[in-house]
Subunit: 272 residues, 3 copies
């Protein structure tokens, strides 16, 4: 009985703390369909597209106000915009948005990384797609929300710090805009927090395979919005990029394990 | 009995987490008067003025040290300064300070927005008033602390994100300094977090009424200290400013409701 | 029985929240020695040195990759680097690293302050030592980790805010790099969060003794990575520096006590 009570209390506490349990990633589709579930009142708004893991919301504006166009410095031809933003996760959202750009008739207009993660060491994200037609903007948001379950696969969060690894066989415009990834080439990132771990991951990755370094972001060099992460960005031969990531992931799990009392588990299911 | 126990535990957890429950906003007056309550040891210090909602503290320095004048780049004529700072809330503090500037013989010397909210998506604040006489500096701090109960009225916080709306019929020097609000005109702001929600609020506000946009702050454009918010600032006819805010608030509550399991409730009592 | 259950639940919650209880600071030595304890899997990695209070990890890279040298803009003569990084604490880590630089054949290459503290108002840290020999880099990291128990002694954390005081009789290269402290002179800092408290501490310190102000960091002036702190840095005669700190600490505890329901207690044992 005590066990039951404790589980009940932990549920309440976690809900209050905004903790999305890793083992139950938010499935976007279900929520949008199921009006009795998580998403209720918001479903009535035409602007609402869906929600996803990481306290992520997807929205669409069919006819962006003229003034907002000016403020956001967006070309007027994009009558419609899609908006994806979350409290936790920037890498997962950017790699998901990259798939959306490939799959839809939309363009990436803005990618920004707030300092967030709900008290964690990393980022949230704000991504804006532009489209001439609202159905294209909506589709871009839908694809992004759906891809998030995959791109959170190599995010390993603990109370002490986190690891993130991302890989794509072919980078497109979202990764180019956010990280300067060469279009059409294989591209990956390693992320470690606290930042000390990220330095070791970077060293491990570049030693493990012959990759071309695209960028290196630290708390103080402007690349991480002062988050407690070091991020290495690299492209190259598909096998090499994967090999660099797999080597860094192996080391990262061991090192984060020394700091954390939690188990080092995927937020969803590893994909690399 | 289990219910009682659970409530007791939740109380303990929340206290440990620094959560000020929305339903019991800190009443400044009571604390200052009642030496046996919240504010005890600090009451003996002449510099202490009071505390308020949002882990806010109000202090006063009667004779600012010469060196501190230099460091803070403050005109020497302001022998006394009043200091208001909190862990949660920037909009509420700035709009409250604006009333204090109107009501007292003091000037706004500094307004800064740390990235804080105790693990949330937004800001804390640091506001400094200057005065030639310490009683004026103290009065400015007292008015600000008192106004906070009102200005937290349209702050809606949840574990997933938050909304904030502020309105004044006549902007004064605090709002001018912080946001560039035209002095003497009606002025308002909409804030949404995660930032994606703030973009939708901005679009909703400018479509709802004929307002003049004063500013637009995002996580990456320098306006939010990398917090996960988008803030729209606008002035105009009093009716128009209110109409823009009310429309955005309506949409905001629906959208935040899709993301949050918590109810979307005012931190104190809505005033707009 | 209810008490037991509650304690058990609080333990679970705190563990989940990443709260390192102040009364049980992580003792580095024990962990490194005891392979069955906190540090398990990581001990097998040659790069792992140890962990410490503040979710701090110490690592070493014997032969830094050529590319990483470039990315970090480090002189190639430093074949080996030592890395110390934590989620909570920057002052404690920098003052500890200062002792390490004095005691070992290593140099300080980088000190960065992420905005972190696991949801608190302050910083984490990233510190990199360079050495020609890996044993020197390792030694620098070991000394830093060991010193942390001492340098967390005048860190007073509560859910509402925190205070920090640091003092050294003789500043060396870490304090010079991070704060511009004059080499070989007595040096100290006062830190208060929320930032309003830090302003009062600064005024109290400079009034209490004849010290030379070296720096003053606020949420908006670039010195705190947007954290909710004000930091005063000063050098001078050893007695004066200590006197300034002791006066500020006295005031700080009283003022933070008005804001916090927690007791104002040292993270380890006060040393000043």
């Amino acid at each position: 009985m005590n066990e039951d009570l404790m589980a009940k209390i932990m549920d309440q506490v976690m809900k209050k703390m905004g903790d999305t349990p890793a083992e139950e990633p938010a499935v976007v589709e279900a929520k949008v369909e199921d009006a009795s579930g998580f998403c209720t009142t918001g479903c009535g708004l035409t602007e609402f597209v869906g929600t996803a893991i990481g306290n992520t919301i997807g929205l669409v504006i069919a006819n962006v106000d003229y003034n907002l166009h000016e403020l956001m410095n967006i070309d007027k031809k994009f009558r419609s915009i899609g908006i994806v933003g979350g409290r936790t996760g920037a890498g997962p959202h950017i790699f998901a948005a990259d798939e959306a750009v490939k799959a839809t008739n939309s363009e990436i207009l803005l990618i920004e990384l707030p300092r967030d993660t709900e008290g964690g060491a990393g980022h949230g994200s704000l991504i804006i797609f532009g489209a001439e037609d609202v159905s294209d903007a909506r589709r871009a948001v839908e694809v992004t929300l759906k891809e998030l379950n995959r791109t959170f696969g190599d995010v390993y969060g603990t109370s002490a710090g986190h690891l993130e690894f991302q890989y794509t066989a072919r980078a497109s415009y979202a990764l180019n805009k956010a990280f300067g990834a060469p279009i059409g080439k294989s591209f990956g990132i390693t992320v470690g927090a606290p930042a000390a771990i990220g330095v070791l991951l970077a060293d491990t990755a570049v030693k493990a395979a012959n990759v071309d370094i695209v960028g290196y972001a630290t708390p103080g060099n402007g690349g991480t919005s002062h988050s407690n992460e070091v991020i290495l960005q690299f492209s190259g031969d598909s096998g090499a990029v994967r090999q660099a990531i797999i080597a860094a992931r192996e080391v990262g799990k061991q090192v984060l394990g020394t700091l954390s009392n939690d188990e080092i588990v995927s937020s969803t299911v590893p994909y690399i």
